[in-house]
């Protein structure tokens, strides 16, 4: 039922957004460039200060730049330290149920304890 194919409703939403964004952009340009006195003569006296026409884009760009650094930092903070048990196991592995071993069948998927994995990798088979 959820296909990405074009539909008439989607075309209408798209066109409305297109017109809306052009309207918003022209309004922003008018607010930023037309002198205050001209706006007052038109009767538009309660618009925000023109300071914000420059301040908001500046805030947005700095926020995007800081956001990159913030994301990097949050990632580093969320990484488990070397001495935590989260590097070895977690709640799902602790509570897993053992399926019975069947002959001639592929063994069921399970979390193998780290001691067993180490013995298989690093101790040579006799």
């Amino acid at each position: 039922e959820n296909s990405p194919a074009p539909l008439p409703e989607r075309a209408i939403y798209g066109f409305a957004l297109f017109l809306g964004s052009w309207f918003g952009f022209i309004l922003y340009l008018i607010w930023a460039f037309i002198p205050e006195t001209w706006l007052f003569t038109l009767g538009l006296t309660y618009w925000p200060q023109k300071y914000w026409a420059v301040a908001l884009p500046a805030y947005l760009l700095v926020a995007i730049g800081v956001g990159y650094i913030l994301l990097f930092g949050i990632n580093m903070m969320s990484t488990a330290p070397l001495n935590s048990t989260d590097t070895i196991t977690d709640n799902y592995a602790k509570k897993q149920q053992q399926k019975k071993f069947q002959e001639e069948a592929i063994p069921a998927l399970r979390d193998i304890p780290i001691s067993e994995v180490n013995r298989m990798f690093f101790l040579p088979e006799k």
């Binding site: 580093m76 990484t79 488990a80 070397l82 001495n83 935590s84 048990t85 590097t87 070895i88 196991t89 602790k94 304890p113 780290i114 001691s115 180490n118 013995r119 990798f121 690093f122 101790l123």
Partner: protein, 188 residues
């Protein structure tokens, strides 16, 4: 019997692993890190003193120079006593426990002893550390309530960070002693 072999640390620095067999159930493994290089010490000292001289030229205050000398001396002492590790060693005694020792460049030694009943296993674990995935050796401590559980992970060789080939040698040596626990259980 004692033997020493050269390996590399995770960052490429040369390290040496020394293995001593004291008896059938007692082994000592020591990893020696490279000593403080004279060229890096001179480089850091020159950089700090040049910066201090630049500040002195700007501010005309001679206290900056004496402060720089003081900071360099105190910084070097703090680095040698608290940061620069010379040797990390692991002493595994089969029936008793495992002792982990770190010796600093100033001569200070910090020791931790873990009783054998608390030790579940010594394994090589992989984890993410500062944008790298490294192998490190760690002691798994037994959870008293749950025979399969791990209560704590004690990472070893944290400042020398040997590479996998060195870790495999240490792992095999430790496992030879830990296996004896299973075959010869002693009631205490």
């Amino acid at each position: 019997a004692m033997e020493e072999r050269r390996y590399r640390s995770a960052s490429g620095a040369p390290i040496a692993l020394r293995r001593r067999q004291h008896s059938a159930s007692c082994r000592e493994l020591a990893v020696r890190c490279p000593r403080l290089q004279l060229r890096s010490l001179s480089a850091v000292t020159c950089a700090v003193w040049l910066a201090a001289y630049g500040l002195f030229v700007l501010s005309e205050n001679s206290m900056v120079l004496s402060a720089a000398i003081f900071i360099t001396l105190i910084g070097l002492i703090i680095y040698l006593h608290f940061v620069k590790i010379d040797q990390e060693s692991l002493l595994v005694i089969g029936s008793l426990g495992i002792q982990v020792t770190s010796s600093y460049a100033s001569g200070k030694e910090s020791t931790t002893f873990i009783e054998m009943s608390q030790v579940k296993d010594v394994v090589i674990n992989e984890a993410i550390h500062m944008q790298k995935v490294i192998y490190y050796l760690c002691i798994l401590l037994q959870d008293p309530g749950d025979p399969q559980g791990v209560s704590e992970v004690v990472p070893l060789f944290q400042s020398s960070k040997p590479r996998l080939d060195c870790l495999i040698e240490v792992y095999k040596s430790c496992q030879e002693i830990l296996e004896q626990r299973m075959t010869a259980p002693q009631s205490s």
